[in-house]
């Protein structure tokens, strides 16, 4: 699933904290663990890069976590 265009990044990161399992941004080249602080910065730094963002998607380790992130994903 992909992050919505105008998603509130602070609220999104807070919601990830509440997830039971790990949440990743995965592309063919990278796997960014969004629960890790430094990786969150890496993710933020590519959010405005459409090409990089389009090359990957958000994946939750626990399927039930998708519900917690529903408002941010499309």
């Amino acid at each position: 699933m992909n992050l919505k265009n105008k998603a509130d990044i602070r609220a999104f990161m807070q919601a990830i904290k509440g997830c039971g399992g790990n949440v990743f941004f995965e592309s063919p080249e990278d796997k960014i663990d969004l629960k890790s602080v430094l990786s969150q910065y890496v993710f933020c730094s590519i959010m405005n890069n459409k090409k990089l963002m389009d090359s990957g998607s958000i994946r939750c380790e626990n399927p039930e976590d998708y519900g917690k992130l529903e408002q941010f994903l499309e």
């Binding site: 602070r10 904290k17 080249e29 960014i32 602080v37 430094l38 969150q40 959010m47 405005n48």
Partner: protein, 426 residues
């Protein structure tokens, strides 16, 4: 032009001045709308996201902040911002933020090292690195001056560093990518972010041989709590604090160019004095002399440098990476020399073999851990890459004259005996 318009105009002028002066960005947010009105920061979308994600943006609007004074904010990467407010009709109307800055170039090098460990693609890694390289490095003392100037521009009031506010507690996260040392919980009454910033500022002054360190020293003295290590006897706490600071000063002095031999001798001399001190005032006196001595020695040696920049960088890299395997090939690659040439050069300038320098540095850190953490000797040995506990004990005994267990016991026994004596006296 009324006062409010004038202050808004002045704030924009100030934003332009600090950007042209040191590439420090500035931001303006509406207090009610929380929208950004202007910024001079490059990569504004990314930095705004960092500011938002770290919770700093929410913090400047929060009730906790006194809107009549500047507030210092920082995030998990060590970026620092300062916020202050423009008032209109008796209420804060705009928040003007300057930053981000790093207070040390080593902050960004540390982040780069961590990024390398995380195995991202070069494209993704460089994306963040290039953005972070736009963050200027500004010393704590300079940032205090910019904060005072900003406050004057927005209020026409003079202010001193005593009036500054600091965001706390420091942000916490579920997990960080850095190695962490397990210690007893710290008291909440002291902003550890502030202590760390001031401490880093002081160590930077040792590295630079900067003789204008006294105001920061005074601030650190005001901030340091008497019970940081949760041990039972107050004097032991003061001594522990100073022992660690002596080791940090010694490292900073080496990074500043002082020969390891001189720095080490000074460290040993001050550690002996600290251990022998009987009163708090005596310790305070030693503390003053120690800082002065290290700063002056570095100042002297920087006028006549003995150690090349390459070897200094090598030492700095080793100190930053003591908890990693530290292969010679990695160190050589980091400083851009062949292994053969680097080891020769290192020995020639430092009078000690590179491998011995790594071992010595790890033993020094082990001493601090033995004193201040509950880690077992096996754990320390493993985390310092000594291979086996026996080998760690052997190296430790060769350097310190006793085994790690004996060292820990002896310090604890000294602490108990001082406490017992104090009890009897009472």
């Amino acid at each position: 032009m009324d006062t409010y318009d004038k202050r808004l105009f002045d704030s924009k002028m100030f934003a332009g001045m600090i950007y042209s002066g040191c590439r420090m960005g500035a931001w303006c947010f509406g207090m009610e709308s929380r929208k950004m009105y202007y910024t001079t920061c490059p990569n504004e979308q990314e930095f705004l996201m960092f500011f938002t994600m770290s919770g700093c943006l929410d913090y400047i609007f929060s009730e906790k902040v006194d809107k009549t004074k500047p507030v210092f904010l920082s995030d998990s990467l060590g970026m620092i911002w300062v916020a202050d407010y423009i008032w209109h009709y008796g209420a804060p109307n705009l928040a003007v933020v300057i930053g981000p800055v790093f207070n040390s170039a080593s902050s960004i090098r540390g982040i780069e090292d961590s990024l390398r460990r995380l195995n991202f693609s070069i494209r993704v890694r460089n994306n963040l690195v290039q953005i972070l390289h736009k963050v200027p490095v500004v010393s704590v003392a300079m940032l205090y001056q910019y904060a005072s100037m900003l406050h004057y521009v927005l209020t026409e009031e003079m202010i001193t560093s005593d009036d500054f506010q600091f965001q706390h507690p420091a942000q916490t996260a579920d997990r960080t990518d850095a190695e962490e040392v397990e210690v007893a919980p710290l008291p909440e009454r002291v902003s550890m972010e502030r202590v760390r910033t001031v401490e880093e500022g002081l160590l930077q002054m040792v590295r630079e041989g900067n003789l204008n360190y006294k105001h920061l020293m005074q601030e650190l003295t005001h901030l340091a709590g008497p019970d940081d290590y949760q041990v039972r006897e107050p004097q032991r706490n003061n001594k522990n604090t100073m022992l660690i600071f002596a080791a940090l000063c010694s490292r900073a002095a080496m990074e500043g160019g002082l020969s390891p031999r001189t720095a080490k001798n000074m460290e040993v001399e001050y550690i002996t004095k600290i251990e022998q001190a009987k009163t708090v005032t005596e310790l305070m006196h030693i503390s003053e002399n120690m800082m002065d001595d290290f700063v002056k020695k570095v100042h002297q040696c920087r006028s006549h440098p003995e150690v090349s920049r390459t070897v200094q960088e090598c030492c700095s890299y080793i100190q930053r990476n003591l908890l990693k395997p530290l292969e010679l090939s990695d160190i050589a690659k980091e400083v851009g020399y062949t292994e053969y040439y680097l080891t020769k050069k290192f020995y020639k300038e430092m009078g000690v073999r590179l491998s011995d320098y790594i071992k010595d540095s790890r033993i020094e850190l082990s001493k601090i851990w033995l004193l201040t953490t509950q880690k077992s000797i096996q754990e320390i040995s493993d985390q310092m890459y000594f291979g086996t506990r026996n080998y760690f004990s052997k190296v430790f005994r060769d350097k310190v004259g006793m085994t790690p267990a004996a060292y820990r016991e002896r310090v604890m026994a000294a602490s108990d005996s001082e406490e017992g004596r104090k009890g009897r006296e009472e």
